[in-house]
């Protein structure tokens, strides 16, 4: 304790004459949460840098790419170069790019000729609605199936649930979407084919609108959930199976507690933590499912935006959508890690 308050010893590389109070003030930087957040920020910085250099490394002048369809006069072309800052040296463009990213200014869409941010905002909301709905389904069904399989480990129920989970994981998400449309929308005519709202719908009450959106939400959310539910169930099953061998489970059984009490109070409770962390790791996979689903159902989110950007070769839009998806995933995994480290102190020290 006393030694750590002495100047210089705490911060290995810091100047020797740092006052003790300052050393203490900056010590939080070494704490787990600070390191974890920093790691997330570095990841985003790398993604932004990647985006910038990808744009520059393309063959040909970026301004040509922007102006590819409209025939511009040399003067207008020069003006375009100027407005995109293409006449400045590369490193200066890079710095400008980074400062703009921090202010969420991600440039102008080639196709729509409007700020990318204006396109991203509504898309982000729609993607979060879809992913959120899917997550609820995955959570409820995945944990339920996992608990059943883990508790009846080695039985026929367990084997068939494991096989089902592996099969679900093997399904291409976009194909599941196509099959659901074929069955529920085309053959049975129960649910809408695509979009987020009915075309030219007039809502009398906000309740009507919500019902319409919910009807459009069912199939896309189910599509994402069907593919992901298996892996969550498997994760829950395996951690429950691991917990089952612990001494406290044996002790609980020896004390003659009811099986249900043992399962919920000792089993699920302890198995839930590792499941939660691993679930955060599957978030990237979840985004992959969302992109495919949005394309199949024309759900106006970030995935559809990316798809359209690919078709239109709209690079600023494509990169910005990628960046926003990366931000979502980084924030979510960081929060999950911090949450987990609060609950399990062993993580913080490693």
């Amino acid at each position: 304790m006393t030694s750590s308050l002495e100047p210089g010893t705490d911060t290995g590389s810091g100047p020797v004459d740092v006052p003790a109070s300052r050393t203490v003030r900056w010590r939080w930087l070494r704490s787990y949460p600070a390191r974890r957040v920093l790691q997330g920020l570095i990841t985003l910085f790398v993604v932004a840098t990647f985006n910038f250099w990808l744009f520059r490394m393309l063959p040909g002048d970026p301004a040509r790419l922007i102006a590819r369809e409209s025939r511009l006069s040399p003067e207008a072309f020069e003006q375009l170069r100027e407005s995109f800052g293409l006449n400045e040296p590369a490193w200066q463009q890079y710095l400008t790019y980074l400062t703009k990213i921090v202010r969420f200014d991600t440039g102008i869409s080639f196709k729509a000729r409007m700020p990318v941010t204006d396109l991203l905002k509504p898309a982000l909301t729609n993607t979060l609605i879809l992913t959120g709905a899917a997550l609820v389904l995955i959570f409820v069904f995945g944990l339920a199936f996992g608990i059943v399989a883990g508790w009846r480990r080695g039985t026929r129920t367990d084997t068939s649930l494991t096989l089902t989970a592996l099969t679900l994981w093997s399904l291409p998400t976009f194909w599941v979407g196509l099959m659901l449309v074929l069955l529920f929308s085309i053959s049975l005519g129960l649910l809408p084919v695509a979009g987020i709202r009915s075309v030219a719908a007039i809502y009398r009450t906000p309740f009507d609108e919500m019902r319409d959106v919910l009807e459009h939400l069912v199939l896309p959310a189910a599509t994402i959930a069907i593919v992901s539910v298996g892996s969550i169930a498997l994760i829950m099953r395996n951690s429950l199976a691991e917990v089952a061998d612990e001494d406290y489970m044996l002790a609980a059984r020896a004390r003659g507690l009811r099986p249900r009490t043992i399962l919920w109070r000792y089993g699920v409770r302890n198995a839930f933590l590792p499941t939660f962390t691993l679930m955060a790791l599957t978030l990237g996979l979840l985004m992959a499912g969302t992109i495919q689903t949005e394309v199949v159902f024309s759900w106006p989110g970030l995935g559809l935006l990316m798809y359209e950007a690919v078709q239109d070769r709209d690079l600023p839009l494509l990169e910005a959508a990628f960046f926003v998806i990366a931000v979502i995933v980084v924030i979510a995994t960081t929060i999950a890690d911090l949450f987990y480290s609060r609950l399990d102190p062993r993580i913080r020290s490693s």
Partner: protein, 301 residues
């Protein structure tokens, strides 16, 4: 050469010589229900892929008249035709080879990169290890599919691009896995002895560390192949595949973009997806069963 003689003395246990365990592992794998189904399915797909490659051109010829479009399955066309009057049956057969080739080639790239990073990082340790694993974790965090889409959209369209892009975005998980294995092997007696008698690090890694991590790497590689096949299908479906070749994902893209879903033309929609699922499932089953067989903690059960 004399080093080898000392080594056999130093490592008499079966655990240190997994090369001799291969037949035993295969036997155990076959005895798990999953492993057996998966291996049989894989063999069927391998034959199907080779036969399809030899029997038909890729892409199959288009229909001659407008009436050939979207023909329902009949005796002439077992599985009907697509929007250009091409036989669905022939397209399925040529697509198997593409899926297998992309899956295996992309995985080879990923495992090679992962092995290099994982082995050097785990073996050297210290600051280098911290740095390498920091980068690896970053790649694990960055959502893969969006990154793959951006890369595939910018680079020239073609099968090699697809393979490389999937390969170079999938190395992080095997790298982590291999590093963990290397760390657990590093302090084992026979490695320390090899070091003590002055074997070069590269030689130790090649002859002693690599064989010991081979099992877990193989299991992971099989699962990676499953994921790579899925990713290829997704890219083709999004229109980022090789424009000159037919693959299962491309078939679904053609069906989707020509409105086959709304028209209820199930024969262009169901078969390609079903085959993707079965092929991916066969790799998943084998990989999953192999992981259980190799992992000693679960083997004890």
């Amino acid at each position: 050469m004399s080093a080898e003689g000392i080594m056999t003395d130093a490592a008499p246990t079966a655990q240190d010589r997994p090369g001799n365990q291969a037949p035993a592992v295969m036997g155990q794998l076959w005895r798990t229900g999953r492993g057996k189904i998966g291996l049989i399915l894989l063999a069927v797909f391998l034959v199907y892929g080779v036969a399809g490659y030899l029997a038909y051109e890729n892409p199959p010829a288009a229909g001659e008249t407008v009436e050939d479009r979207f023909r329902a399955p009949s005796v002439d066309y077992l599985l009907g035709t697509d929007n250009l009057g091409r036989s669905v049956w022939e397209q399925l057969a040529v697509g198997a080879g593409i899926s297998l080739a992309v899956g295996v080639a992309a995985t080879a790239i990923a495992v090679l990169m992962g092995s290099i990073v994982g082995i050097t990082s785990g073996y050297i340790g210290g600051r280098f290890d911290q740095f390498a694993m920091g980068i690896t974790d970053m790649f694990i965090t960055i959502p893969a599919l969006p990154l793959i889409i951006v890369l595939a959209a910018v680079l020239s369209r073609g099968l090699p691009t697809i393979i490389v892009v999937i390969g170079v975005t999938s190395w992080a998980v095997p790298a982590r896995l291999i590093r963990a294995e290397v760390l657990s092997q590093r302090e084992r007696t026979f490695i320390l002895r090899a070091k003590a008698i002055g074997m070069r690090p590269l030689h130790i890694m090649w002859t002693h560390v690599l064989p010991n991590v081979a099992g877990i790497v193989l299991a992971n590689a099989i699962l990676l192949t499953a994921a790579a096949i899925l990713t290829e299908a997704v890219l083709a479906f999004l229109g980022l595949g090789d424009p000159s070749l037919i693959s299962w994902g491309k078939m679904l893209q053609n069906a989707f973009s020509s409105g086959a879903t709304s028209l209820g033309y199930w024969w262009v929609l169901i078969p390609p997806g079903l085959l993707i699922t079965l092929l991916v499932l066969s790799f998943t089953l084998v990989g999953n069963a192999l992981t259980d067989v190799i992992d000693p903690r679960r083997r004890a059960e």
